[in-house]
Structure formats: structure tokens, C-alpha cells
Symmetry: C2
Subunit: 370 residues, 2 copies
């Protein structure tokens, strides 16, 4: 059976051949993971464009710590073990006769490029280094079946962790944001997450008006908003979900803000369609909030892609560019933040499909009053 | 009271003035945290060298998400809020009349440098971009009292987590590496860690011969080695500790390997002195292992600095350079790995002092037979 990584390499190979490159040096660690399956902390891929069949001329580089792991995780690419991984692969490209070598200019540092230029200029050899920009990230934006399954499981872990916490009464007045955040994290780990997707946000009361509040010793208080933004990582894939609830009795202003954000979020989800401009998706949700006079209180973009990174392509915002494609995994997360009072954000992770988007975060979006 | 960050900025300012720089653009996020106290995910510092008094001409940049947080965490540096943080600070440097601007060439990407060059060349202005290399990392290698206190607490959390796990009988045959790893992580979080310092290593039986084994479903087995390499992060500072134990009865070969590594580790710790060459410290431990005929089974360096990163300056290895200074926080972690059989690593985190090194990881290093 061909591994999905081989198909991904072939797609990059085709793009590189079109750009007139003999080979591509992939050094972003997540891009390397995507193209090879390698999960260690040092690895790079030299992808050859000659031939075009999977594995042709490809070379996976890592250091001696990962020889065994590379053999298991990357069985279908020739292995090169060298402590100075990137230079060793560049040297291999030169030896292999490459004259135009692609590299990731958004990842390679100034020092690394200078090192490569020195090395590739040795003996009067002329290898031109050409940026491939975010070519691999562009491929990564569209998920395959295995990736979508990992995202489903990552979202299910987050759903279950929150359900358990709520059922046990852990979200009650008197507890601190930090306690709740740590329990949510521990619960996700116990349910099989490798790690939280990012630093879990627990924001109580006025803190809920801060979009990215870091949990502190603030206590949950009767009648206050409680905003939870969190996710689980499973097989390297990240889930992302925000729910806002009220402790005790919800005041009218809280219900109003909540219903507004919920309506905007529903509009954003409904706008997720193949071919939709990301700016139009953002506008679909934002228009609802602007029409209610709260435009200035929605201070961030509507959403972002999720996958091997918690934030990846496509960005869904007024400043974004491009259109949605089937298989993209994105968040829809409008918010209204009233400084000093409180804020509401509602966020789901979804898959864009030719039909309705598939909702992966299944926790109810009814205003939960605990 | 002056914050420690102000003193750190002044030390960098002095170094920059010596290098003939008008200003320095610090963009590595941990270096920014070290120099300002900012813990968000986007921030950069423009440090002016004119005047030399703390704060003189300095500018802290971040985006709108962090306006409030920056006000709290960085009260003593002027704030600039701009989504395109790095270009905005570079523009401020140019406006301020800088002609030689330092930048971190090991962090700034090729794309970012091209952007800065374009921007700084506008209107025929001539601002020279000069690499400061790892100047901030060099400052970070020597810890101040507050940093050492954070490291003490990070090590104490790891000590306590392991003690609790052992006391509860969680390290018994039949349990899997993954279960133990997750419990260790959850325990550290419950004890106040922000996160594990790195992906916890739990390696049972023959897996203990793999220096960086990733926990899997391997079961702990009577008579086998169990190697645990883990740490806690507290206030951003990382602890790092490895202990190897035996489940049930230790065989003679296991005792022999263990005693050998323990002797090497003690020799390495004893060599930690102000002014010692890092290569000599590595050799002090390595010689013990080589003399016992196991040189080829000790396949990595002896240790590394720890702090805001789990691996930072100074590196302690045969390939290292430089000497130790008082206040450096380092690990000493020799290992002997017998492929297919098992391996032992013993690792402590310590502070180099003018006297004996201060041991921060206090868990016993007697061979623990559970």
C-alpha cells in the first residue's frame, strides 16, 4: 500500500518541476512531517524532480539520534544520517547535479542561507537557490481522509473533556481559571491527546472580554460569563473550539450578546462552501455583528485553517485572499468583546465539503447556563 | 524597584554600543521575553544604544491582541502596536536616525530580511543591517536570582511528580509507557507546571537503549530497566531530569551498567566549576565510561544549558567551546546504551557556582528497585 506521504511528495514534485527546479530542500519540520511521516525534532527532505515516480532521487536527512525512528517512520525514502542535516542534503543535491535548488525562504534563516550559499559555491559549482515560498503549506491546506479522521478524533477528545468537566461540576463559582484550565488539559491527556493544541484559554467575568486571556487566579463567579477556548492534539492534528457559558442566571445583556454571536457564527458556517472567497466568509459573519452595532467589538478575523499547526492556511479574514476548497479544515469563531464587562466567542472546527460543511466540534452551542 | 529585564537590556545595550550599532532589533520571542517580560506569541524589541540608561529609545512592538498584556508585562518600555510588528519597529529605527541596525540573523528568515532591506532602502535611506548573532542567548546563559528560583521550582515539581507516581505504585509491570508518561505529565500540571518541559520520555526494557524513545504501548516488565526523562516548566523555565530504575530484581549486568553511569555522572558533576572548559567537563564523565570499555555506547554530549529553552547555551560536549561561569544552569546526563538490551541515563539540572554546584533535581540517584 502506498503511504499518503508518497502522494504528497509527488504533488510537490510536480509543482517543483513546473517551476523549473531540479530539487527542493524542505526544512520546515512540520512540512517534513507532512511529506515523510517523521515526527522527530530534526529532519529535512531533499526532493528530486527527475523521473517523477515516488521516491525518485529523494533523500531524508536526520541525525544519529533518529536513525531507528527514521527507518520505521520513513521506510520509503532513502536515509542520510548527518548531524549537519541541511548542509548534507544540499551537498547531495549538488553532487546529484542540481543547478536550481528550491528552498523555503520563509523558514530558512539568514545564517542558514549564507551557509548554503558558501557550501554550494565551493569548487566553482553554480547552484542557484530559489524560493518555493509556502508551496508545502498550500498543499497542506487541503486534508486527505487520514488527516480528517485525525482531526475528528482531536475534536472528539476536546468535546469529551469539556462534557466530563461540566458533568462533574468542575465549572462552578469559587474555582479559579487556572484550576479549570489545568483540569481541562489533564482530562484531554487522559482521553488520549498528545498535548493541548495551544495554551488553554479560560476567561471568567470581565476577563472574557480579552480575546486571548491567559488563565490566572481569577475565580469563577455566579452570573458571570465563562469563556473556554481549547483543543486537543491527536496524531499531530489540532482541534480548536470555543464555548462561552454563564454561571447561574444569564442576564438579558448576556443573552443578547450570546444570541448575536451565535447568529454570526451560524452565518459564517453557512458561508463555508467550495469556491467561496475567504473575505466573503468573514463578511457573512461580520455583517451580522456590524448590523447590530457591535462591529468595533469584533476585533479579529473570523477563522483559520487547522491541521499540523493550530493556525495554518487558509486565513479567513477581511484581509485574506483566496477561495475555499473541499477538504480544507477551518475554524469559524466570531466574538463580541465588551471591555470591562465580558465577551462571547463561539468557535467550531469544520471541514469544507462539496455539500454542507462537516462539523467536527460537536459540543452544543445553546447558551449553557451552569 | 527596577525590574531584572531593565538590567538585561542595559547589558545588551552595552554590547551593541561596542559593536558600533545605533539600535538592535530583537525578534526571537524568547529573547524578547527575557529582555521585556512579555509572554505573548507576537512581540519584538527595538533597543536603542543612545544614552545607555534603561529604556532610552527602546520600543516594544506587538499587535492589537496584546495591547493590555503588554501594558501589564512591559510597563517600562514604550509600546508600539502594529500588526506588522517587525517592519514597524524597523521603520521606527530608520525614523530615529539609525544607520547601523543589529538583527538576529539566526532567527530572521530570508523572506523577513528581504522585507526589511526593501523597507529600509525606501527613499534612498541607507540603514545597514548587521548580524548580532546569538548575543542575547549568550547573556541568557548566566541566570540571575529570579531565574534560578524559577528553575528550583521547576525541578521541585518534577521531583514531586515522580515521587507521587512511585509512591502510588504507578510504575509497575503491566502498565504501558504511554500511561506512565501521561500520568507523569498530568501530575506535573497538577503540581503547578505550565507544561511538561518537552515530550516526556518513558522507555521500558530494550527501549531504554534508545536515547530518545517516544513512549508507546510497550508494557513495563519485571526485571526490566525503566528510563524516565522529563521535566516541568514553571514561569517559563524548564527543568530536566532522567532517572533509570529497575522493576523487581536487578540483574548483575544492570547493576554494573548503572554503577558505571552513576560514577560518570558524579565525575561530570564534580567537574562543574567556574572557568572549566565545557570539553573538559564532558571528558571528565566520558573518560569513566571509555575506561570501562563502553565509550561507543555513550553516543551523545554530556549536557546542555537549560532556562527559557530546554536546550540552550552552554552546550557541554566534546565539540563544545567556551568555559563555565557562575550562574549557568546546566544538565549532566551521561548514558550507556546497549542496543537490544537496555540503557541507563542519569541526569540532573545544576547551577554552576563559585563553590560546589547547586543540585536542583533532588530525586535520589541510588538504583531504585521498585
Amino acid at each position: 500500500m502506498t503511504r499518503p506521504e508518497a502522494g504528497r511528495r509527488d504533488r510537490l514534485r510536480a509543482a517543483a518541476a513546473v517551476a523549473g527546479l531540479d530539487a527542493v530542500l524542505v526544512t520546515d519540520l512540520l512540512n517534513v512531517r507532512y511529506l515523510t511521516g517523521f515526527t522527530g525534532s530534526n529532519g529535512a527532505l531533499l526532493l528530486g524532480t527527475d523521473g517523477g515516480s515516488a521516491g525518485s532521487g529523494d533523500l531524508f536527512g536526520t541525525d544519529g539520534r533518529y536513525t531507528t525512528q527514521a527507518g520505521t517512520q520513513v521506510p520509503d525514502v532513502e536515509l542520510l544520517v548527518d548531524r549537519a542535516t541541511m548542509p548534507a542534503l544540499a551537498r547531495a543535491a549538488r553532487t546529484g547535479g542540481a543547478t536550481r535548488l528550491g528552498f523555503e525562504s520563509h523558514v530558512v534563516t539568514v545564517d542558514e542561507l549564507r551557509g548554503l550559499e558558501r557550501l554550494l559555491g565551493e569548487d566553482g559549482a553554480a547552484v542557484e537557490l530559489v524560493s518555493i515560498r509556502r508551496a508545502v503549506e498550500a498543499l497542506r491546506a487541503v486534508k486527505d481522509d487520514g488527516e480528517i479522521e485525525a482531526l475528528r478524533r482531536a475534536c472528539a477528545v476536546a468535546d469529551a473533556a469539556l462534557a466530563e468537566l461540566a458533568a462533574e461540576g468542575a465549572l462552578r463559582p469559587g474555582r479559579t481559571e487556572l484550576q479549570v484550565g489545568r483540569e481541562l488539559d489533564a482530562r484531554m491527556l487522559a482521553l488520549g491527546a498528545e498535548a493541548p493544541s495551544f495554551e488553554t484559554i479560560v476567561a471568567a467575568g470581565a476577563n472574557s472580554a480579552i480575546p486571548h486571556h491567559r488563565p490566572d487566579s481569577t475565580e469563577l463567579t455566579e452570573g458571570d460569563f465563562l469563556k473556554l477556548d481549547f483543543g486537543a492534539t491527536v496524531d499531530g492534528y489540532h482541534s480548536d473550539m470555543t464555548r462561552t457559558l454563564v454561571l447561574g442566571h444569564a442576564a438579558d445583556w448576556q443573552r443578547e450578546v450570546y444570541e448575536l454571536v451565535a447568529a454570526a457564527q451560524a452565518a459564517g458556517r453557512a458561508a463555508l462552501a467550495v469556491g467561496a472567497e475567504v473575505t466573503a466568509v468573514d463578511a457573512a459573519a461580520r455583517d451580522v455583528i456590524v448590523a447590530a452595532g457591535h462591529g468595533e467589538h469584533f476585533t479579529h478575523g473570523l477563522g483559520h485553517g487547522v491541521g499540523l499547526e493550530i493556525h495554518e492556511a487558509p486565513g479567513i479574514s477581511a484581509l485574506g485572499a483566496g477561495t475555499l476548497a473541499a477538504g480544507m479544515a477551518v475554524t469559524v469563531e466570531p466574538g463580541v468583546y465588551l471591555p470591562g464587562h465580558g465577551g462571547v466567542r463561539i468557535e467550531d472546527t469544520l471541514i469544507v465539503t462539496d455539500d454542507e460543511p462537516e462539523l467536527l466540534t460537536l459540543t452544543s452551542k445553546e447558551l449553557l447556563v451552569l
